[in-house]
């Protein structure tokens, strides 16, 4: 079944053809990709920024302006640009008067189906969590995704108490999940029946994250406010 291949001598020609073809196609492809990338980049960045903004706005009501800080190795916070990767980020929000409106912290932990990533807002005045937003979760639709949608559950985060103890190095009462309908204290979260595991996961994430961050934020309160002043003056 071998086709007669009389063109043995054209081997060189064919390898030239191969090269030509690959380079040609490579060029076309590169051109197409780069054009698309350049063409869509501004809009994609805008959309992404908007999405982030929207998320932060959800957790810090009244925010109009934000700054991004990153935690470095030495437990120090410093301002960075938004799309910086690696290291833990917090977003500090300011209201229209330039006053510190709250701090948004991203956190994640293991849920029912996979890792859940959330963003929560902390109000320094009230010493409470005032907002909560799920950035990413693969929890069961219709069940575990109630952590994003269930109004009763979200109501937990209207003002979740995370007051510090007198030494200002730890929470007075750790965040805790209790069975649905048995919430008694402001630092407790009412679980969702049927999605106990997901709602407990949220509780766990919040309790570990707040243990770390709330004291840190309070410690850096001046930094956040100083920045504001600085900017405001300019």
């Amino acid at each position: 079944m071998k086709e007669g291949n009389p063109a043995h001598t054209t081997e060189q020609a064919s390898s030239f053809k191969m090269l030509r073809a690959m380079v040609g196609i490579g060029l076309i492809c590169a051109l197409l990709i780069v054009l698309t990338f350049q063409g869509t980049l501004p809009r994609i960045e805008k959309l992404k920024a908007e999405a982030l903004e929207k998320a932060i706005f959800k957790v810090i009501p009244g925010m109009v302006k934000k700054k991004t800080y990153q935690l470095d190795q030495k437990n120090k916070l410093s301002e960075v640009s938004d799309d910086k990767k690696g290291g833990q980020l917090v977003y500090v929000g300011y209201d229209e008067n330039g006053k510190l409106a709250g701090v948004a912290v991203a956190a994640s932990g293991i849920g029912f189906a996979d890792v859940i990533s959330i963003l929560y807002g902390y109000d320094l005045e009230k010493q409470a969590l005032v907002g909560f937003y799920v950035l990413e979760s693969k929890e069961t639709p219709g069940l575990g995704d109630k952590i994003e949608k269930d109004p009763n559950f979200l109501a937990n985060f209207g003002a979740l108490d995370v007051m510090l103890n007198d030494d200002k190095n730890a929470l007075k009462n750790a965040v805790k999940v209790v069975k649905q309908g048995t919430k008694k204290n402001p630092w407790e979260i009412d679980a969702i029946t049927g999605a106990t595991i997901s709602s407990r996961a949220i509780g766990n994430i919040l309790s570990t994250s707040t243990e770390q961050w709330i004291p840190l934020i309070i410690k850096n309160k001046d930094l956040f406010e100083a920045h504001k002043n600085e900017k405001a003056q300019q």
């Binding site: 698309t36 996979d114 693969k138 407990r200 996961a201």
Partner: protein, 194 residues
């Protein structure tokens, strides 16, 4: 604060979010070679092996692309680099261990551009895993793939000798079993969340 232990990454990729049964990746080889135990184990081995290689390639490539700030080349470079690395490894194995080559060889070209392989590379990049994490993730994904394949092969071999109704025979039966297996694997959901 990503505090996923290596252990969790492994369990997650192999059991909780099994590539085949939860993510629907590698369905084609899953449907294609799960009819016989022997091919299933070999395919499982080959996939795991290619996954490990491509996971390392993807890790390196991602670092490179970040450095030169060319994210748009991600897909193309993953595909090309993974395919050619596997080709190289294949040649290498052929030289070094003909026995291993005979066992895995015919499967390697089939799976170099399989979606489970590429999916693994993309997921690990999205999740921002480091080198070790990527390695364990690939190991878990490969193990999970092999597990699903081997379980299916056992069941299908047994069902070769069953009075399966004609309309169900073939792909339909395999898909239905996959569905039941997928349900069974839900028992692993939430492992490690407590």
């Amino acid at each position: 604060m990503k505090e996923e232990s290596l252990w969790y990454i492994f369990i997650n990729a192999s059991l909780i979010n099994n590539f085949v049964l939860a993510y629907f990746l590698g369905i084609c080889p899953f449907l294609g070679v799960s009819g016989k135990m022997e091919t299933a184990t070999k395919m499982g081995g080959a996939v795991t092996f290619v996954m490990l290689i491509s996971s390392m390639c993807a890790y390196g490539l991602h670092a490179l692309l970040t450095a030169i700030n060319a994210p748009f080349l991600q897909l193309i470079s993953y595909i090309v680099v993974i395919a050619s690395t596997v080709q190289l490894v294949e040649m290498f194995i052929k030289k070094m261990s003909p026995a291993l080559f005979r066992a895995l060889g015919i499967f390697l070209p089939l799976i170099t551009t399989n979606c489970a392989i590429l999916g693994l590379a993309l997921f690990q990049t999205n999740k921002g895993y480091g080198f070790f994490e990527s390695f364990i993730y690939a190991l878990g994904a490969g193990t999970g793939f092999t597990l699903a394949l081997v379980l299916m092969a056992g069941l299908r071999e047994q069902l070769n000798f069953a009075e399966v109704p004609n309309v169900v025979k073939g792909t339909v039966l395999t898909l239905l079993i996959a569905g039941i297996l997928s349900l069974s694997f839900m028992g692993f959901a939430g492992l490690g969340s407590q």
